[in-house]
Symmetry: D3
Subunit: 133 residues, 6 copies
């Protein structure tokens, strides 16, 4: 079930092939997951999405790769994206997330959701000391 | 603007005082932020919320304290809780989050939101390899 | 701060006046809250919104009036609508919601948010016995 | 998988039949999609939902039919409604949405989600010039 | 499709068995739904989640059991949790929710979503009279 | 109230100045709204965000400029971003959105939210004919 038809041989398009090749090289795997196969219906959208995923997620930076994946899971759960929860949980495992860390991540996400709803329900005013602006 | 009236002298209630004292001791500060002052309208709700925030956020575990706060921010942004974004950004700063890390956190949250919406819009089917169940 | 300019004398428009009069009669109060004053920028939108709010919320039915308001609060919290949380908490109080019931409502909403996020994070498959379709 | 049992012969109920007939006439097709078949468990809910869908979506107005469907898709993606994304993407295609327009719609929805999350994360204050109220 | 692997014989773990036994005793049924079977991958998470679900949902209080389940459904719909909508609709039916009440619940949830979006779109300012804080 | 401190003289940074100059030239106005002033705390984040906003929103394409802004509003409402609703409503007005179109946009967004919640509450199965994948 999808709203676009995946292209039969997407790598016949040289722009798609270039992106797929870069995904394989960056991730050191032959596996191209469905997100990229479906985005390939529009090479512009595919190129721009991959460019930023690569830059943000696959470039060494001030946040370590496992933490990045756990942050991605946290946002994806709150936004209710089942596909994204699946793909980034797999990515977090591939970067070493243990079962204990996974359970703790679940606890934090669930706790945040709980207090998010409480603060919204109570309409708690922001403490002036928190203001940076 | 709030939906509950904060109690004038909440610490006259010994259960509220016990929670506030524990917040001060756990966080090593005299400051009690509004979330707790407003939750104090119901001591049960206050106790149960603090018990779990303390257990999950203030106990050494498999995820470090700064990462926990960044995960909390990520969920709070996606759930649109302004109070929570403010309070946990302050907490992350207190645990050492640099300006560069803050900016990178913003990039990751924004990227996840972007691909969450793309995957939902395309209704990308989950790759069988991601299934753990 | 609003995205539309409220009309200075909205009841100069007979369609707006008719809706405002019906709000006053239905609610037995002279007070017209901002939601209706701002919707008055478009009489069609005002009429259609009030027609359904009146039919669903102010007509005796199989769900009692206080429960209806608590359900409205629950949805409004989850959708992050501050205005709606404020107006329907006031309405629930006017229909007799006690402080204890308010606190319990908060607990239920927060618990639901917590398990909503857990079920999404785990991608728990629906038990076949739950299927009615 | 559904939470209600679709009625076996829904058109035995004359109110359901009248709505289904109007859907067929309005859309010039014999096809009744599942949304209406499942809503038929309650004729009131079916009638009121169809009345407003027809009035807003199928009546000539200041926004053209294709734009209406693209707006519907945009909201449905952000609200995470898979059924709605599917049905309104099909409706947009039926009203002439090209592949390029579909890809561009995806880009806009994803960009909005990205800056929505950035503005919420930064808690950017609204510029006074934007205020109409 | 799930992000965790359910344990083959979860009740070999005495902590899991104790929770499952308490679920059976509290609900007076042998049926353990998938939510608990999947949470069993981490006994801490299982225990803490069940402890609060039992305390809030299965203890006599100021909100009756059917209303609690309808509130749970309302939040779960707004948060887009399909699993939770299924499980709590089944629970509400088991507590006596009629078809008419189900349809009315749908109407209220849909109406709230509609005015939530209107109030957010118009950015309606909160009436000072609603402020309790 | 913000979570970052806007830079006092942001255009002292040549990268920030270049972006602000391009915003002014692209939009033919001297006004730089707060979103960009706050994003300026991190020139990378500022540059990348503006680059894509300009490319997607300010480049002639298959969707006209007013429709783009209305789509942006629709997503921003559903995601509950008050800042974004304000800024893009102003942008839509600048591109010619009439009061009648604004009211109709509100109607469509509210209708979509309503049926989004109904389809999620009923867990309506996707009609096979909608599947493109």
């Amino acid at each position: 079930m999808s709203t676009v038809t995946p292209v039969a041989d997407p790598e016949n398009d040289p722009r798609v092939k270039a992106v797929f090749d870069d995904i394989r090289a960056t991730r050191r795997t032959d596996f191209i997951n469905n997100m990229w196969r479906y985005l390939a219906f529009d090479p512009d959208l595919l190129e721009q999405t991959w460019r930023d995923v690569k830059r943000i997620m696959a470039t060494p930076s001030t946040i370590d790769p496992l933490t990045k994946e756990m942050l991605y899971i946290a946002v994806s759960v709150a936004n209710g994206c089942g596909y994204c929860v699946h793909s980034h949980t797999a990515a977090a495992r591939a970067r070493g997330m243990s079962g204990a860390q996974h359970a703790e991540l679940m606890s934090i996400v669930a706790l945040a959701a709980r207090t998010n709803h409480l603060a919204t329900a109570l309409q708690v005013p922001v403490d002036p000391v928190f203001d940076q602006g």
